[in-house]
């Protein structure tokens, strides 16, 4: 296995295999990834980060593929991170976004990586952000992260992006309503995809009504667009809105603010992760075991157990 120095050397030369291997180490949190992150971080800051999210079946991958093609027309180097859920039962995952983005798969100006959620509860957002940082450091101008907008951590990933595009599709069903409630909060741009399907107009009206209730956020009123991604319709408009939003953020100082917030979150997450790791050593785990037994036996309450463990572990 290559040393970190060897890998970084190839990375800075622009070797894509090195980029790919570094991404793996970062994703797996192994093999010197912390050292790698420290080394590449100074080179980040160039890439604009866009999040694409929405319910399953909305056509997000097709949308991403088309948007990337728009970006490529403008000469941008693009990184794509496509997140798919890990099965809670088997621990495996079918990462099905790449197959939907074949138009861009062979483009040397695009680098795409599929990531599984791996059942983590917050680790994913950190890993995905780190992977985006690596791509940024490699030289990407634009990084598009696609997630299924169903879990909190996936919403967190979207939040870390500067512009979040929420893709919806005309569909009857309450699940979409519930979904919209969460997604509405983070949407900077809303796209109704597959707009040739029944119910498109009605849904567009519903969405506009919901946005009106939400009101503008950060001085930006999210536009509601219609598109048919698989036909290439409406894509230029979506891309245009992304550019507009990026200009707005830059001009209003909000981009800077967003970056600062991200950095703060990252530092806090790292500290919490470290505290967590440092705290739960073998001895403390044993204390936990004993405490559980005591609670089950009715000797103490869970809160008492907490106090006991903390004081016993020197806190």
């Amino acid at each position: 296995m290559m040393t970190v120095e060897q890998l970084l050397s190839k990375f800075t030369e622009g070797n894509r295999r090195a980029l790919s291997r570094i991404i793996s180490r970062v994703e797996n949190r192994q093999d010197g990834f912390g050292e790698i992150m420290d080394a590449v971080y100074p080179r980040t800051g160039r890439a604009y980060r866009v999040g694409i999210t929405g319910p399953p079946g909305a056509g997000k991958s097709t949308m991403v593929s088309r948007l990337v093609q728009e970006a490529r027309k403008a000469g941008r180097q693009v990184g794509v991170i496509a997140v798919d859920p890990t099965s809670p039962f088997t621990g495996g995952a079918l990462l099905g976004d790449r197959i939907r983005m074949q138009d861009i798969g062979g483009d040397p100006g695009v680098f795409m990586r599929s990531m599984a959620t791996r059942g983590s509860l917050g680790g994913l957002a950190a890993a995905a952000t780190d992977v985006a940082d690596v791509m940024d450091a490699f030289g990407m101008d634009l990084i598009v992260t696609e997630t299924v907008g169903v879990g909190q951590c996936e919403l967190d990933i979207a939040e870390a992006c500067y512009t979040t595009v929420v893709v919806l599709v005309p569909e009857s069903g309450d699940s979409v309503q519930a979904m919209k409630a969460g997604l509405m909060e983070i949407a900077d741009i809303l796209v109704m995809n597959k707009s040739d399907r029944d119910g498109a107009d009605r849904m567009a009206r519903e969405i506009r009504a919901m946005l009106e209730m939400r009101g503008e956020r950060n001085g930006w009123e999210p536009p509601v667009l219609q598109a048919k991604a698989s036909f290439g319709e409406g894509i230029a408009e979506v891309y245009g809105e992304i550019l507009k939003h990026s200009e707005y953020l830059a001009g209003s100082g909000r981009l800077e603010k967003h970056r600062r917030t991200n950095v703060e979150h990252t530092i806090k997450d790292l500290i919490e992760e470290r505290l967590h790791e440092d705290f739960w050593n073998e001895d403390v785990a044993a204390l936990l075991g004993a405490a559980v037994r005591d609670v089950m036996d009715g000797k103490i309450t869970p809160r008492q157990a907490c106090r006991d463990i903390l004081s016993a572990s020197g806190n």
């Binding site: 079918l94 099905g96 197959i99 074949q102 698989s230």
Partner: protein, 554 residues
Amino acid sequence: MLDKEDLKRFEKEREKWEEKFAASGLPFEATNPSGRATRPLYGPADIDSLDYEKDLGFPGEYPYTRGVRTTMYRGRLWTMRQFSGFGSARDSNTRYHFLLGRGQTGLSVAFDMPTIMGYDSDHVRSHGEVGKCGVAIDSLKDMEILFDGIPLDKVSTSMTINAPASMLLAFYICVGEKQGVASEKLRGTIQNDILKEYIAQKSWIFPPESSVRIITDILAFCADHVPKWNTISISGYHIREAGSTAAQELAFTLADGFAYVEAGIAAGLDVDVFAPRLSFFFNSHLDFFEEIAKYRAARRIWARHMKEKYGAKNPESLLVRFHTQTAGCTLTAQQPENNIVRTAYEAMAAALGGTQSLHTNSMDETLALPTEKSVQIALRTQQILGCETGVTNTIDPLAGSYYVEHLTNQLEEEAEEYFRKVEDLGGVVKAIDRGFFQKEISDAAYRYQKEIEKKTKIVVGVNDYIIEDEKIEIDLLKIDPEVEEDQARVLEKLRAERDGDAAGKALAALKAAAEGSDNLMPRILECSRVYCTLGEMIETLKGVFGEYKEPIIF
């Protein structure tokens, strides 16, 4: 059928019998690979509501459940039509003469992947694939060699080709012209069933709308010029091979058929003119009785819908005339000789189901294309079936069987339910777009595999009756590796010797017709006559119609 009193009495006796069965402790229902639960016994009550006239009828009479022709096999045995092709046109021509010499009664052409996907043999994407799973046909020149010494007014030829079907048909017509056989005399079939490509076989080129336009052009052209030609072989074989159940095969095939009927009508064609030339192609899988019931249900469903929904008046419009192929997916790579037996059972089911044409698989097809020896056995299987077993002496012998009639009814009900689902989704093309069929099929395929691995379904030689470290001792067919280079040379020569000007003009005319609404067939024929290649014609159409991208459904 039975009077009320008899029925009550029978039911009581049946209950008593079922109690005896239950006392044995054995499971009451057995499940077949399609997921169908089968009881240990069927009786009069199961077909009590069967109305002979309404539900069965007579052979050659509505609703055709018992067969499409009055005389069936007494008048004419099914056509023995072995799907065949490999290497160069000359290699395949030799095999066709061999098969005809061994008693085959119809030709069936298998094309290689480049031909199927519309690439010439010297295209970069054809590399490694030329002649490997079928014959390489790049132009009329190859077609002339393929049918060398075969009089087209004396044979019927089925061509398994879909997206480029119009071109292969044009080549065939041109070969006829050179032999002095008018197109009105040509008999045969082109598979030309693009909807099932999107669903199962996946050898598409253009998107659905344009593909259907090409098909309606073919329907119109053949109605006027090639009236004896079967313009579509609406297929379930591939759907089944991709892993579907019997009910899905039945339902999805007929749904596709209805979609073509609707397309033809929408294009302004008279249903009673084009529908008689629609034919079908089914799988014959291992569950013996389910397959027989499936064919009977197919005939009844199609007749009913064509008459009642589409108002067809010509009796020929109501017929499911079909070709059958025994199920490739049931063959094993382990102990391949066993496949001869599987194929024989499957062939019998097809015969008892009233097929018009039959292909029997060779035992070595899980390993390679068939050798002469193994395809001979496959052909002999049909000949023994037809000549020695006596199943052809009477028509639809299983009619009236409690089990088979019950199954036929069940399959019809299940198909109707699927038709409703497809309609709810907005029709076949929309359902394809949503991945409805594809998901049903891949789910069924996955379940089937799980059952084999759990051993709830036994496959002899694979998960039971295994021979450890078995050595395969049969000879396998090898494709001449020179075929690709030879074809490239042929193409070079062709391009050099033809009238390049005429070829260019013909392709331009094809492009213009594609951009407009003129029938494409005459333009394709002109291109063929001046030796435009298949790849050139397809490229021209791709430029106008674009290429299909599959919706990814897992």
